[in-house]
Amino acid sequence: MVTNTKEVKGKDICVQRVSPEEKRELAYKDDVCVGCGICAKICPTEAIELGEIGAIERTGVDESKISIDEAKCVLCGMCSSACPVDALDLKLDEKSIKDMAEYPQLIKSAEISDDLCIYCKACETACPRDAITIARILPERSKLVTGEIEIDKDTCISCGICEEMCPADAIEMEHHEPTSSDPTVSSDITVNKDKCVYCLICRKSCPVDAIKAVCRSCSYGDYDLNPEDSETTGSSFIDEEACVNCGWCQEICPVDAATVEKAFEGELILNQEKCEACGACVDICPCNVLSFPEEEFGVQGDKLQADERFCIYCGACENVCPVEAIEVKRTAVKHTPTKSKSWEKQLSELKT
């Protein structure tokens, strides 16, 4: 008789069924899970139960967000297919069903086009899941500096004004107390050419006109730069495990380099009358959709607001709300086609 085994590692869970025919293994990663409970909703054998996600997320309760009853689980993989954040994965003989055409897959994606990206890092900063890394290589500063300065040491009176004015700390004087044998206040003045950006503040502020500008490009200060020298290059990386396809990157990108496709369509309905402003929904939302905006400067407001542009309609907020003030409606569940009528039915029942 084939029976399941369960292994719990920290908060991660693994349920296995091994037979001479095949090995089925359902792996759950708690740090990826957002507490939406879709797995529990779709499970045809009621083997999955959503935990007390509010207590887990906000207090010291040290439990997994879901529990799996290995006696009820039949390792069909519906939870794995329906999980909007890929916290569950069913593998058949080590191959994930997410890579198998016969299994329906949620249609969701997040991409950053390296052709369009200007590496401004807005997405990296905005991403609520810290899933984006933008690695950029800045242009070499010296190649963008169009000239250099020369100090006429005979004219220079060692006043130190240029040293104090220089925004790049490129001018350094060797100050000393004057003595009868050396009645000067400085022994030398040097310009660090790596630091100087040729802004000419020093020349403009020099009281004795001891500083001369030498333009490398032209005599009129008109720049003739190689465009390649001014280009910032780089690469973008989205951690697919952390990404929940919320759309923040797409919204914030100034050059439309980020594109996000969401698996669910729907509506987020807030009931302000019922809301007690406990903030559990704000804490659980993986997409930074919900907030209590300040009503006046410095005062935390108590009117719940949602920005649905970033909502993935996962329903975690509805699960955690203690007073039923939030309703998440799912009107569409987009997935790749399946020939199985039962899978089609279970997936479409995620609509509310």
Binding site: M1, V2, R17, S19, P20, E21, E22, R24, P44, T45, V74, L75, C76, G77, M78, L92, E102, Y103, T338, K339, S340, K341, S342, W343, Q346
Partner: protein, 153 residues
Amino acid sequence: MPKHIVSGLKYLTAVELIREGLSQKEVAKILEMDRSTVSHYLNGRNLSWNSIEVAEIITKFCPKDFLTLTYALLNDSEKTRVIVKTCSKKSYEASVEESCIGCGLCVDTCLLNAIVLDDLKARIDSDWCNGCNMCRDVCPTDSIKILEVNNGY
């Protein structure tokens, strides 16, 4: 004496296969025996009549008991398949309803390897089904129906 019972079951299977028109050589190959042993079996030698009687009783058990006992005696799915299917007198029509979720529990359970998954749906080869109903019993969605076919026996 499990060994003797196995011999009895092999005897019954050999007799049936010969009746179906197979040669002694083919039977020997299927049952993984020497051809001479098959010949001895068919002549009633090297075999106590008692083990044949016991084997006959076993074949008349309910399909599940016949199958699981045979599997336990042989511990070999291929030979179990041949013996059980050859000695079973009844035919079955197995069908899977659309409510099947493709969990594969029936595939893993079927001792006769009669079930495969096809596009997230179990497909049962009725030719190999012996009506043990073990797949039906494990199915979490009650999607399997097995009917005995009245074929005159």
